[in-house]
Amino acid sequence: MKLLDKMLKNKTLHGIIIVIIIWYLLHISVESNVIPSPYNTFKRFFHLFPKVLSIHLLASLVRIMTAVGISIIIGVPFGLWIGMSKKADSIISPVVYILYPLPKIAFLPIFMILLGIGNTAKITLIVTIIIFQILIGVRDGIKEIPKELYYSVISMGVSKAGMYRHLIMPAILPRLFSALRLSLGISISTLFFAENFATTYGIGYYIMNAWVMVDYLDMFSGILALSLLGLLLLRLMDLLEKKFCPWVFLK
């Protein structure tokens, strides 16, 4: 019972165990090599990881991190700007609302024609998708700051630069973290699609290639690697948020 309690408390472990149970049940009910058993997959995964999977994962990770980094560098200042200035908001937000829901994935061929078939097109694609999450998150974070909090900070004698440091940045930080979590999920699925074109590196490529080769054990190992990467990135976000936004986690 104690062990069960401990497992339930550790949310990651708890999630992994449930997913593996479902996976195992599917495996025995489907009775086909299309869904290999968890055990065989893990065995293959550990075999493939050091020399093969890690390289593909690294290629994908570099693309994701570059895209997220660029999106933050462009999206945060823009979000600050339209959040702080009513005029900027009225000019830019309508444009954002038209561009945001467009299925940017459809533009990959165009990016590839304009930017070449290499990494630039793939990274650009991800940036055009996630930058809106960040921009809108930052803008809304600013809009949610109560007027009274501005007044209170001004009346303390805080300067204009101090306003950013003591009021605006901390107010948008939790929003930024939520936007980043969403963005990471979206980046991974976008990348999976983009890596089917003009590359031989990346976990998306690896999975689709294994599928074409009808090697389901390889394919599942790839999926496992991809989901572990996602899990790792999300946990990292949690840790960073706990460090930088401790007030969000108070009971």
Binding site: E148, Y151, S152, S155, M156, P170, A171, W247
Partner: protein, 247 residues
């Protein structure tokens, strides 16, 4: 200390304050009471220099108010404390932005924590405090910059009756210990009479009546009959004219 002359203020086309004239002497207290929406908060924001005015004049210590003033401490109803800063950092903020040195700052913050008896709260965040504790911290944060003018907007309205009296007594004691001019905005007649040497009664955008309160400063005032007489007078002024408005 404070001189307001022919002050008018409007939000768009709504006249919120109309021809306000008011003088408050240095190191006295003044309470402003009136029905909801009559413009009390607006008047306080104007005194604090948080909103700009064009029609009329406001002088504090013979200087025209333009923007927020360093020696004015403001306590707003609910939103004063920054949720991302601990009690200590909230209190230290005003000193930090004034460029005070670390050692001196630590000393001053510790002192004010001790004075208001909130040392054990110093590492907590605002969301972990009770209403009364929050108000103590807000008061500490405002006093630590050594203001000569304190502006408070309904600073006890969210508290239960006992805590309310505690905080009111605390303010009165602070006032007696150090000279400072205080303006309170309040909804409560009892509070207006307990804390105001001068009681300003407002009605829709106007000052209706100013009452001098000779009993101010007596902590035992709450158990005296004269106190209730003044409360009754304030109530009569507040209710006067009400019957004509509602047909």
């Amino acid at each position: 200390m404070i001189r307001v002359r022919n002050l008018n203020y409007s939000y768009g086309s709504d006249l919120v304050l109309s021809n306000i004239n008011l003088s408050i002497e240095e190191n006295t207290t003044c309470t402003i009471i009136g029905p909801s929406g009559c413009g009390k908060t607006t008047l306080l924001y104007l005194l604090a220099g948080l909103i700009d005015y064009t029609d009329g004049e406001i002088y504090i210590k013979n200087e025209k108010v333009r923007g927020s003033r360093r020696e004015t401490g403001v306590i707003l109803q609910d939103y004063g404390l920054l949720p991302w800063k601990t009690v200590w950092n909230n209190i230290a903020l005003g000193l930090k932005v004034r460029g005070m040195e670390r050692e001196q700052l630590n000393k001053e913050v510790s002192e004010i924590l001790r004075e208001l008896d909130i040392q054990e709260l110093k590492n907590k965040y605002p969301s972990q405090l009770s209403g009364g504790q929050k108000q103590r911290v807000t008061i500490a944060r405002t006093l630590v910059i050594k203001p000569d003018l304190l502006l408070l907007d309904e600073f006890t309205s969210a508290l239960d009756a006992m805590t309310k009296e505690n905080i009111q007594n605390l303010i009165l004691n602070i006032y007696k210990k150090r000279p400072v001019t205080i303006v309170f905005v309040t909804h409560s007649i009892e509070e207006a009479v307990f804390l105001g040497q001068k009681i300003v009664i407002m009605d829709k955008a106007k000052i209706k009546k100013i009452i001098d309160n000779p009993y101010f400063g007596d902590v035992e005032i709450r158990s005296r009959i004269d106190y209730y007489n003044i409360c009754l007078e304030v109530r009569r002024w507040l209710e006067e004219g009400k019957n004509h408005e509602t047909p």
